[in-house]
């Protein structure tokens, strides 16, 4: 009898605790929110933001994960932000859970061990799905810290509408743009032709060509001529460097190459230039409308071609495209980041993602199975042209990956600043000396550059 009483009491207690507990059990836990700094879209409508919304509403909702974008910028800005945060600079923001980065940013960080080694979250089979060269590029000190999500290469973009006008008047051909020598010759012609449009205004010839990274032009150019661009932690300045310098400097001194800072898309947007070499991913930022200084605008056709090479050089092109780093935090947050990244690099979704941004997918199966169909279905002619150029590049070029030097970033930054500064100085000297001084000025400017580098 007594035992029955105790059992009844115990049962009542369990029931009571169960009743009080069940109210809380039904409560939804707060989602694991992870932050992301990315570059896919910069200030424009970002296709990645749309995909993130899709993730949050589907897999994120199921697994209680919320990805929040707290910065969409460009790799340079994010690079500075990441380093400022990593060094704990005054006023610097905290590192986000994920950020887009080149290996050069990781190498410049004071302590790269703050980043997750993806080998801890991806098994060997999963890693083997990625293209091995992309995995190798993201591996720093034997740790896979930069996960490839989209890869790009350097591509040439042409304002074909403007080029056709130039071509009709001068006989310039698109095929001239297949080599650097041909391109820089056209640049000289373009300056002369545009200057001739307004005979009453002297020396108002327009810039023909803009390159996003002059450093890349020299680096790939020298390497394509079979010599080393780098020498240890510095630059080699081999004879091939002079070969690469000559046509470039000639066109620049004549006013045919853009020396202002900023991205290559800017002068094409304002009609100040008509040909550029930039990351394929910049396709998102090219507008099919050019707005001129008098506020008139013109619808133009932007087409893409493979990056030019040197006549005597190997067909080599810079492979670009940052990856995503994950900052170590709690296992739940790290797992949330990895869940999102696995979702983003799913073979089919990755193709959907990259083809909206002008990138290439990162898995072999994506290339083989889904990319051809995606390219066929592209409706925007600019994107269709880009992917045609992509395929031609893949077929005819070797991809060049920049070495992982601790000093790479410093070399690049110094080179970009100094080469523009030297050439601006050279232009001033050339204008003062007159047209006959161009040969001397080309090499004098090179000496000036080497001296100040």
């Amino acid at each position: 009898m007594k035992r029955r009483k105790y059992m009844a009491l115990l049962l009542a207690l369990i029931l009571l605790l169960g009743c009080t507990g069940c109210g809380t059990a039904r409560q939804k836990e707060d989602p694991v929110t992870v932050t992301l700094w990315h570059v896919y879209g910069a200030q424009t409508d970002s296709p990645l933001n749309d995909l993130i919304n899709q993730f949050n509403q589907t897999v994120g909702a199921e697994q209680n994960i919320c990805v929040k974008v707290t910065s969409v910028s460009n790799t340079n800005t994010i690079h500075e932000g990441v380093l400022a945060a990593a060094f704990g600079d005054p006023g610097a923001p905290e590192l986000p859970d994920m950020f887009v980065s080149y290996p050069k940013t990781v190498l410049a960080m004071p302590d790269e061990s703050v980043l997750v080694d993806y080998s801890d979250y991806f098994n060997e089979e999963e890693i083997s799905e990625f293209l091995p060269s992309f995995i190798a590029e993201g591996t720093v000190n034997d740790r896979l810290v930069v996960l490839p999500v989209a890869k790009s290469t350097e591509i040439m973009f042409i304002n074909k509408t403007a080029f056709d006008r130039f071509s009709a008047a001068t006989g310039a051909k698109l095929s001239d743009l297949e080599t650097w020598e041909g391109l820089f010759n056209l640049a000289d012609d373009y300056v002369a032709w545009t200057d001739a449009q307004t005979p009453d205004i002297p020396d108002d010839g327009k810039v023909f060509f803009v390159h996003d990274y002059h450093f890349n032009y020299f680096q790939v150019g020298v390497e394509s001529l079979g010599e080393n661009f780098f020498d240890g932690d510095g630059l080699a300045f081999s004879p091939a460097f002079d070969t690469v310098w000559e046509p470039y400097a000639r066109a620049t001194l004549a006013g045919g190459v853009w020396l202002q800072s900023g991205y290559a898309t800017e002068p094409l947007r304002t009609g100040d230039s008509i040909v550029s070499v930039a990351s394929s991913a910049s396709v998102l930022y090219y507008s099919d409308t050019v707005t001129y200084a008098d506020n008139t605008s013109e619808r133009v056709e932007i087409m893409a071609m493979p990056c030019p090479g040197f006549q005597d050089g190997e067909k080599l092109v810079m492979q670009r495209g940052a990856g995503i780093c994950t900052v170590k935090s709690t296992p739940a947050r790290e797992q949330a980041c990895v869940t999102f990244l696995k979702w983003l690099t799913d073979v089919q979704r990755n193709v959907e993602f990259v083809t909206r941004l002008g990138y290439m997918p990162v898995k072999q199966e994506s290339f083989d199975t889904y990319l051809p169909t995606a390219i066929e279905n592209l409706e925007n002619p600019m994107y269709a042209s880009l992917y045609q150029a992509f395929l031609e590049t893949q077929a005819g070029y070797e991809f060049y990956t920049a070495p992982k030097l601790d000093s790479y970033l410093e070399l690049e930054t110094r080179f970009e600043e100094n080469v523009r500064y030297a050439l601006k100085y050279g232009i001033a000297k050339y204008k003062a000396a007159g047209p006959d001084a161009i040969e001397d000025q080309i090499w004098a400017t090179l000496d000036y550059f080497k001296e100040h580098y």
């Binding site: 009491l9 207690l13 009571l16 605790l17 009080t20 507990g21 109210g23 809380t24 409560q27 939804k28 707060d30 989602p31 929110t33 879209g41 910069a42 200030q43 424009t44 409508d45 970002s46 933001n49 919320c66 929040k68 707290t70 910065s71 969409v72 910028s73 460009n74 800005t77 994010i78 500075e80 932000g81 400022a84 005054p90 006023g91 610097a92 923001p93 202002q260 800072s261 900023g262 991205y263 898309t265 800017e266 947007r269 304002t270 100040d272 998102l284 930022y285 507008s287 707005t291 200084a293 008098d294 506020n295 008139t296």
Partner: protein
């Protein structure tokens, strides 16, 4: 000392032997019972949520946070208005000075590309300085002139400058990157500012909410002319912004343009992080009010980390005693809102809202209730156990005493309870007295024995008649019961009296009564 200790010990033993008063024990027992009832009451009230509802505390926490948020936002909004008023004055001077330098008036600006560029160049400095010094994500100036009036869209196209940050931080720094969103491209190049990916030369005024009304409204005081747009999408970008317009006046005091600042959705989110509280993360919202609805699709949302609050739809609110409840249809929130002094182009009020998810509050409330219930249940169980223990201890001496008395009625028993001990002592003294009373004097005993012997010498019929007398029958009734005549009964009566040595019926009755009183009637009873 030793003697004193001995004395103390003696007194303690005496007190122990004296026992505890039953009244004291009962008092303790009832106290535990009262506490048990009290615990049961608490348990019931806990179930009802009377103790665990932290509504008042939540209200206090919300009120404090709301007060802080309103203060911060009011300071930010009014501070930005003040800076824009100062900017407007500076810009008016810069425009006038530039026009004077070129011998032009404001109306000469349109279709004069170089003059527009000169004016914009002059305006860049103050605009840039204001952006660096202000708590905002962008700054703009628009003048009522256009580069090319011959264009079809010239009515909607207006010159001006628009600078924005490309990398927003919670704490602004001098290293933040600018982008050049609107304005002549040569100025961006001269100033070495990166052009926005969606740069354009001029503003499209159709994308500025309330622009036409704003430009047509005469202004007496600049400070009164400041007005905020609702959340609006920045065309071709991924961002939504809130814009402040302050008129830019020409030399005659007429409105010739506007200047202002931008609060982007991301900037607002970074500026107002979630406030961690016991009740969950509180989120700050700046939303236009439409009747009893907050227009979320036109609102700026603070960081809602961990909260699925999207800038979509509306939040219908209902005012409560401690706080308001807000419902989007699918999600419910708890919060407070307040309307600061701030004008919107739509004419609606702008509410500063502090929200937290109702689910977080419910979770806390449920866990608090669980703690109360478990606590009071544990207390109730303790009290019931104590009551059970005390009642057992209370009854044990009584039952032991009863058992001891049953086993040995004359033994000396002590229960440890003074009242019971007194009762036992009384019962034992009575028992002693009775035992003493049961022992008859020797002559009386001999008398009983002799009389019993005489009774045993009676004939069966005579014993039958005697038994009828013992049973209290009269002579007539005896004759009837024994089926004999009255005379025969009298004859047996005479023989009985003779053999027993009594002379009268009364004497015989006296003997019988004596046997009965002494409990010995059985000795003379005859079973018929």
């Amino acid at each position: 000392m030793l003697s004193k200790l001995k004395e103390l010990r003696r007194l303690t033993n005496a007190a122990k032997q004296q026992g505890v008063s039953m009244q004291r024990r009962l008092r303790l027992y009832w106290m535990s019972m009262v506490l048990a009832v009290f615990a049961a009451l608490i348990l019931v009230l806990s179930f009802a949520g009377v103790f665990s509802d932290p509504a008042q505390k939540l209200s206090d926490a919300l009120a404090i946070q709301q007060q802080n948020t309103v203060a911060a936002l009011s300071e930010q909004l009014s501070g930005l208005t003040a800076q824009c008023v100062a900017l407007s004055k500076t810009l008016s001077k810069e425009v006038s000075n530039t026009l004077i330098e070129h011998g032009a008036v404001f109306d000469d600006l349109s279709d004069n590309q170089s003059l527009i560029a000169e004016v914009e160049e002059a305006l860049y400095g103050p605009l840039h300085a204001t952006l660096r010094a202000s708590d905002c994500s962008g700054v703009l100036v628009l003048l009522d002139a256009t580069t090319n009036t011959g264009l079809e869209r010239s009515q909607e196209s207006r010159m001006g400058l628009y600078l924005r940050y490309s990398d927003l931080n919670r704490t602004g720094s001098a290293n933040q990157h600018l982008t050049y969103f609107r304005g002549a491209s040569e100025i961006a190049r001269r100033q070495q500012v990166q052009m926005h990916n969606r740069w354009n030369l001029e503003f499209d005024t159709t994308c500025l909410p309330g622009y036409d009304n704003f430009m047509d409204t005469p202004v007496d005081r600049l400070a009164d002319g400041g007005i905020w747009s609702e959340r609006t999408h920045l065309k071709d970008t991924w961002e939504d912004v809130l814009l402040l317009y302050v008129p830019v006046l020409d030399g005659d005091g007429g409105v010739c343009g506007l200047c202002g600042v931008e609060l982007s959705e991301l900037y607002f989110r970074l500026s107002y992080p979630p406030i961690v509280s016991n009740y969950g993360g509180m989120v700050t919202v700046l939303a236009p009010l439409n009747g009893n609805e907050l227009l979320l699709d036109r609102a700026m949302l603070g960081d809602s980390m961990g909260l699925r609050l999207e800038p979509k739809g509306t939040l219908r609110f209902k005012e409560g005693t401690y706080y308001n409840t807000y419902s989007s249809g699918t999600e419910r929130y708890i919060g407070l809102h307040q309307i600061p002094r701030c004008a919107l182009v739509s004419g609606r009020d702008l509410a500063v809202v502090t929200l937290l998810p109702e689910s977080s509050y419910d979770k806390l409330s449920a866990s608090s209730r669980t703690a109360w219930i478990v606590g009071s249940l544990a207390f109730l169980l303790c009290m019931l156990t104590l009551a059970r223990y005390l009642s057992r201890r209370f009854v044990r001496p009584i039952t032991q005493s009863i058992k001891a008395i049953q086993e040995s009625p004359t033994g000396k028993q002590r229960s440890g309870i003074s009242e019971i001990d007194e009762l036992l002592a009384f019962i034992q003294s009575k028992a002693d007295q009775q035992q003493i009373g049961d022992e008859l004097p020797p002559n009386i005993e001999a008398f009983f024995s002799e009389f019993t012997c005489r009774v045993e010498q009676l004939t069966p019929m005579e014993r039958t008649v005697l038994q009828y007398y013992i049973d209290g029958c009269e002579i007539g009734e005896i004759a009837q019961r024994a089926f004999i005549s009255i005379n025969t009964a009298k004859k047996h009566n005479t023989n009985i009296n003779r053999k027993l040595g009594v002379s009268t019926r009364e004497e015989l009755t006296l003997y019988i009564d004596l046997f009965r009183r002494c409990g010995r009637l059985e000795q003379i009873t005859y079973h018929i």
